[in-house]
C-alpha cells in the first residue's frame, strides 16, 4: 500500500476530498474520513479495525469486511 499519495490530498471536514494530482474529487462519510486519518497516521489495517471497534457500536466481523472493502475502493481510485 502506497500511503504517500494520501499526504497530497485536500480533505475537508465535510467529507469532500480533492486530489490535486489528477483533479478528481471524492466524497466520503464520517467513518470513511476516520479511516483516512488513521491511514495517514500510518496505522496498520488491524489497528484501524480495533480503533473503529472501540469508537463505534459494531462487531469485528462487520468492521473487518468494511475496512477491507473501503481500502479496495481506495486502491481502485488510485488514492493509495
Amino acid at each position: 500500500m502506497d500511503r504517500d499519495k494520501l499526504s497530497v490530498l485536500a480533505i475537508s471536514d465535510s467529507g469532500f476530498i480533492f486530489d490535486p494530482v489528477t483533479g478528481h474529487s471524492y466524497t466520503a462519510n464520517a467513518t470513511g474520513l476516520r479511516i483516512f486519518e488513521l491511514l495517514k497516521e500510518d496505522k496498520s489495517e488491524d489497528d484501524i479495525k480495533s480503533v473503529l471497534m472501540e469508537e463505534f457500536e459494531t462487531t469485528e466481523d462487520e468492521v473487518s469486511v468494511d475496512v477491507d472493502d473501503f481500502i479496495e475502493n481506495l486502491k481502485k481510485y488510485f488514492l493509495i
Partner: protein
C-alpha cells in the same frame, strides 16, 4: 457511549455524467408484505420463499373482469394455467369464476384433478397428443387447433370416439407489432386461416365454433389489440357468410403487461406500462364498434401475468458481500436464476427489509448456483447491505413457479398470505425424496467401493 456505526464509503464525483440506471426504482425498504412482517414469513417458511397474496389476486382479477364485463356483455375469462398453475392459485381463479386455459395434456389433467369440468377447459397449444384430444372432445372442452396436421389428428380423434366435435382455430396476423408471433396457428393474411376453416367444414367429424388468437406477451401497445379484434371479426364475418355457420366464441388470449421492468427499457414500469384498462378498452371498444348486438359471441380473455405477476414476491437472503476486481459491488443471495425464469427479461424491483445508511451503489445480485449465468439482478441501486439482509424481489407471480427448475438445491416453499392476514404453505420445500423418487439404478451399478 460508542457512536452509531455507519459503513464507511467513498465515492468519486462524476460531474455531468448522467446515471443511466433507474435510480429511484430500487430505492426504499419494506418491512412487510400485505401486512405480514417479512421476518415472520422467513421464520415460518424459510428463505428463499415465494409469497403470493390471495387478496391481490382477487383484486386484480375483479378489476379486470368487471371492467371488461361492464363494457362487453358476453365477457369471459379463462385462467392461463402455464402462468401459474399452483393448485391454490388456480382455485382462487376458479372461485372467481374463471375457467381453465391449458396448453398441454399435463395441464388438462391438473385442471380436471382440481375439479374443473372438461367443458370448462380451453385446450390450446401447438402440440396435443391424440389421446388427449379424444379426452377433450369426449368431455366437451373448447379445443383450438394450431396447424393442418392437427386438424387431421383432431379428425382421427373425433372419429375414434364417434363424435362430431366442435373446434376452434388459432390464428396469427400482422397487428403492427414486432416481432410478429407467426409460429402459432394459421396465418390470416396468407389465407391459411380461411383454408383451415374450409378443411374443417369439409370434415365429417369436425365443425368450427370459434376463433382464437394470442398476439404476444407483455404487449406495450394497446393498438395491436384493436387491430387483432378488427381482423378477427372480419374473418368471423367472412366465415359465417361463406359457410352459413354461426361462430360461438372469439378468444383474444393474454398478453397484457404487468408492472415489471423489461431489461433494456429506460423508463420505470410505472411510466412505461399503460394501465390494463387501456388494453381492455382496445378489445371491448373495437368489439362494440365492429359487432351488431344480435351477433355478440362469447369473448374470452386468457389474461395471465397482468393478474398474477404483482401478487407475487420472492424473499431471499444476502449470504455474502463481494467487491469485484473492477470495483463493482456484488452480493450473493440464496435464490438463483433456476428459480427465477423471468430474470432473463425482467429487472426486478429490489427492496430491502430494513432502513440502511450509506452510499447507494449500483450493485450486482448473484445467485448461489456456481454458474456464471447466475445473475439475478444485473444492476440494483443499493446501500451497503450486511449479510443476512432480506431482499424482496418483485413482481414474481407470473411464470416463475411454473418454469422454475430443480438444480443443485431444493426448490423452496411457496407461501400464501390469505385475505384475513393468516399465512399458509401452498407448496412445501422439496426434499431429497421428491428429487430422487423417479430415479432407478441398474443392478450392476449399485455397488461401489472408494
Amino acid at each position: 457511549m460508542k457512536k452509531e456505526y455507519i459503513k464507511p464509503y467513498i465515492k468519486k464525483q462524476t460531474a455531468g455524467i448522467m446515471n443511466k440506471f433507474g435510480v429511484s426504482y430500487n430505492k426504499g425498504h419494506r418491512e412487510e408484505i400485505e401486512g405480514v412482517p417479512v421476518g415472520n414469513l422467513t421464520d415460518k417458511f424459510g428463505s428463499p420463499v415465494f409469497v403470493i397474496s390471495e387478496k391481490v389476486i382477487r383484486e386484480r382479477y375483479r378489476k379486470i373482469y368487471s371492467y371488461f364485463s361492464n363494457k362487453y356483455p358476453k365477457a369471459k375469462m379463462s385462467w392461463s394455467y402455464k402462468t401459474n398453475y399452483l393448485d391454490a392459485v388456480c382455485s382462487i381463479m376458479h372461485q372467481e369464476g374463471e375457467t381453465a386455459e391449458v396448453v398441454s395434456d399435463f395441464e388438462y389433467q391438473k385442471a380436471r384433478r382440481l375439479g374443473v369440468p372438461g367443458n370448462k377447459i380451453i385446450y390450446n397449444g401447438p402440440y396435443k397428443p391424440i389421446e388427449s384430444l379424444e379426452v377433450a372432445f369426449d368431455e366437451g372442452a373448447i379445443v383450438n387447433l394450431d396447424n393442418f396436421d392437427e386438424i387431421i389428428k383432431a379428425e382421427e380423434a373425433a372419429k375414434a370416439i364417434n363424435k362430431k366435435a366442435a373446434v376452434g382455430i388459432r390464428v396469427n396476423m400482422d397487428t403492427g407489432v414486432y416481432p410478429q408471433w407467426s409460429r402459432f396457428g394459421f396465418n390470416l393474411e396468407n389465407n391459411s386461416a380461411f383454408n383451415a376453416v374450409k378443411r374443417i367444414q369439409h370434415s365429417e367429424n369436425l365443425y368450427l365454433e370459434g376463433i382464437h388468437c394470442h398476439i404476444g406477451t407483455f404487449m406495450l401497445d394497446s393498438n395491436a389489440y384493436r387491430e387483432a379484434v378488427r381482423k378477427v371479426v372480419h374473418l368471423m364475418r367472412k366465415i359465417e357468410s361463406e359457410f352459413k355457420i354461426s361462430i360461438k366464441y372469439l378468444d383474444f388470449g393474454g398478453g397484457f403487461p404487468s408492472m415489471n421492468k423489461l431489461k433494456g427499457t429506460y423508463l420505470p414500469p410505472e411510466v412505461a406500462v399503460p394501465p390494463v384498462e387501456e388494453f381492455i378498452d382496445a378489445v371491448a371498444d373495437t368489439l362494440l364498434e365492429e359487432l351488431k348486438p344480435d351477433e355478440y359471441p362469447d369473448v374470452y380473455l386468457e389474461t395471465g401475468r397482468a393478474i398474477i405477476d404483482e401478487a407475487g414476491w420472492l424473499i431471499s437472503t444476502v449470504d455474502a458481500v463481494k467487491r469485484l476486481p473492477d470495483g463493482t459491488k456484488s452480493y450473493i443471495i440464496d435464490a438463483g436464476v433456476n428459480l427465477l425464469y423471468t430474470s432473463t427479461w425482467y429487472n426486478y424491483k429490489v427492496e430491502i427489509d430494513r432502513e440502511l445508511h450509506g452510499a447507494y451503489e449500483n450493485s450486482i445480485i448473484y445467485g448461489p448456483l456456481c454458474m456464471n449465468i447466475d445473475v439475478v439482478v444485473e444492476s440494483a441501486f443499493l446501500p451497503p447491505l450486511p449479510r443476512g439482509t432480506r431482499l424482496i424481489l418483485s413482481p414474481m407471480g407470473a411464470y416463475n413457479v411454473t418454469q422454475w427448475m430443480q438444480f443443485i438445491r431444493y426448490r423452496p416453499a411457496v407461501a400464501m398470505i390469505m385475505e384475513d392476514g393468516s399465512t399458509e404453505e401452498i407448496r412445501r420445500p422439496e426434499t431429497l425424496d421428491d428429487v430422487v423418487g423417479p430415479e432407478r439404478i441398474p443392478e450392476k451399478l449399485k455397488k461401489f467401493e472408494l
